[in-house]
């Protein structure tokens, strides 16, 4: 079905098949989710117009050097997505790396600190023993960005947005 949605977005389905896919979009949650996801990817790509000159050349070069399609896994993009979608997913992933200036150039050693690997339940977590620091500057930006995704909004509506670091607390101590 996801393949057919992709082809529909390309405008390459015949009328009969298109009608069936559109019916599916109207009735199936999964199909709708795919449709929405693919448009988000396409929107995200639209944003890349704002990037610096030469960006598309760099993406093209990066794509050439990157045979693996880095499709967002959670979103359930098919293993071998078709045409623009395959390209789109690849570009979305590559452009993000470029956009963030990510991907350290050297192979990394194992992370210094790791969580205990034990998954035996019930977990007896040790008390946090980290250095206690003041709220980082820009804490409100993190809170705003985080709260949008908190499932507790489902019960509490917007109320959790009421909580931010107060202006006073943000000022450095004198």
């Amino acid at each position: 079905m996801k393949d057919r949605i992709s082809v529909l977005m390309d405008g390459e389905l015949d009328d009969g098949s298109a009608a069936r896919v559109i019916d599916a979009l109207a009735s199936e949650g999964e199909a709708r989710e795919a449709w929405r996801t693919y448009h988000l990817i396409s929107d995200a790509l639209g944003k890349s117009r704002m990037l610096s000159a030469g960006f598309s050349d760099r993406v093209a070069a990066a794509l050439a050097a990157e045979p693996t399609v880095l499709a967002p896994r959670r979103l359930g993009v098919p293993r071998e997505p078709r045409r623009w979608l395959a390209l789109a997913a690849g570009v979305a992933a590559v452009s993000l790396v470029a956009w963030l200036g990510f991907a350290p150039q050297l192979p990394l050693v194992a992370p210094v600190a790791q969580a205990p690997k034990s998954t035996v339940a019930p977990v007896v977590a040790k008390e946090a023993n980290a250095a206690v620091v003041p709220m980082p500057s820009g804490a409100n930006d993190y809170l705003l960005a985080h709260q949008a995704f908190s499932p507790r909004m489902s019960f509490q509506g917007m109320a959790p947005y009421a909580l931010t670091v107060s202006g006073r607390a943000q000022e450095p101590r004198r």
């Binding site: 990510f102 969580a115 820009g138 509506g157």
Partner: protein, 316 residues
């Protein structure tokens, strides 16, 4: 009393109890539905109990027909947040800035009614006491966590509408770390004008987060925290225009976000833990990036997720 008579009496007692108070899962569904369905306006307080404590008073208005909500924070730095179907806008009149976030969270990963039963994997859910809040009779539902990687909750629903009137977040010692409670609540009587932003925002600086689902190639957790699964991965901007990646992990009720930003140009590089009510923020450096983990989960959970963040070169 014969066994049979006792059985009959028990059956009657059970039936009566049921008629008065359906099971806790029904109450959770009622609360969820009321949050989505009702128009209302009200004043609520957000109290943090740790340290010296702090209380924020806010006014909230919801216009259900347009699915628009407005929240005005009454004390401290003036702030107003308007949430529509596809955008969240935060107006900061002091700095004449409006922060805009596109709602990629729409319907997901917010808790869906059919996911409510799955909460029993991590929480024991039972009915609690009844209490009068803002003049309305409320039934409480207690969510007791099965381990100390998440907080407990006591939620109070207005008995007729199911509207959540009070929510307490409870730590492992049984103390409330924060309380969110309506002090005044009026159902209905909301017009579209009441949820319009009070500020026109003309000549204000717009900070658009440009959030969009994306794959953060190479970034992940060496080990997931039990019960917390990745629900979304996206790119966004933070503050004025810092590029960042965000991964969100959730157990269905609590959520923890991992923000990933390049280190260059960062002034503050303090690693450590900061707390505010049920929210903990933990920062550390990984592979030339600043990792900031934010969540309404106990400090130990936020720290464990932060410590598990790693970068692996994507396979060639």
């Amino acid at each position: 009393m014969t066994a049979r008579a006792f059985g009959a009496a028990l059956a009657i007692a059970t039936t009566v109890a049921h008629a008065q108070s359906p099971d806790p899962m029904t109450w959770l569904r009622k609360m969820h539905e009321a949050t989505q369905r009702l128009s209302y306006s009200g004043t609520f307080v957000y109290q943090i109990h740790q340290n010296d404590g702090r209380t924020e008073t806010s006014r909230i208005t919801r216009y259900a027909a347009g699915d628009i909500e407005k929240l005005e924070v009454m004390n401290g730095v003036p702030r107003e947040i308007v949430r529509t179907r596809d955008r969240v806008r935060c107006y900061l009149p002091d700095s004449r800035v409006v922060k805009v976030d596109r709602r990629v969270d729409r319907d997901f990963p917010g808790l869906l009614p059919e996911q409510i039963p799955a909460l029993t994997r991590h929480y024991d859910i039972s009915l609690g006491e009844t209490q009068r809040i803002a003049g309305l009779e409320c039934q409480s539902v207690v969510l007791q966590p099965k381990d100390n990687l998440r907080y407990g909750y006591r939620l109070y629903a207005e008995v007729r509408s199911g509207m959540l009137m009070r929510a307490d977040t409870i730590d492992s010692a049984g103390h409330s770390v924060e309380t969110l409670m309506f002090t005044q609540f009026t159902p209905g009587n909301v017009t579209r004008d009441m949820v319009r932003p009070s500020h026109e925002g003309k000549n204000w600086r717009i900070e658009d987060a440009g959030a969009a689902p994306a794959s953060l190639a190479g970034w992940g957790l060496a080990a997931e925290l039990p019960g917390f699964h990745k629900v979304i991965e996206l790119k966004r901007r933070l503050g004025e225009s810092r590029a960042a990646g965000q991964m969100v992990f959730s157990d269905g009720l609590a959520a923890v976000s991992v923000f990933i930003e390049p280190l260059e140009g960062r002034r503050d590089r303090a690693s450590g833990l900061a707390s505010m009510g049920a929210i903990h923020i933990y920062t550390r450096e990984v592979a030339n990036h600043m990792i900031t983990v934010v969540g309404e989960a106990p400090a130990v959970s936020v720290q464990r997720i932060a410590d598990a963040v790693e970068f692996r070169r994507p396979p060639q």
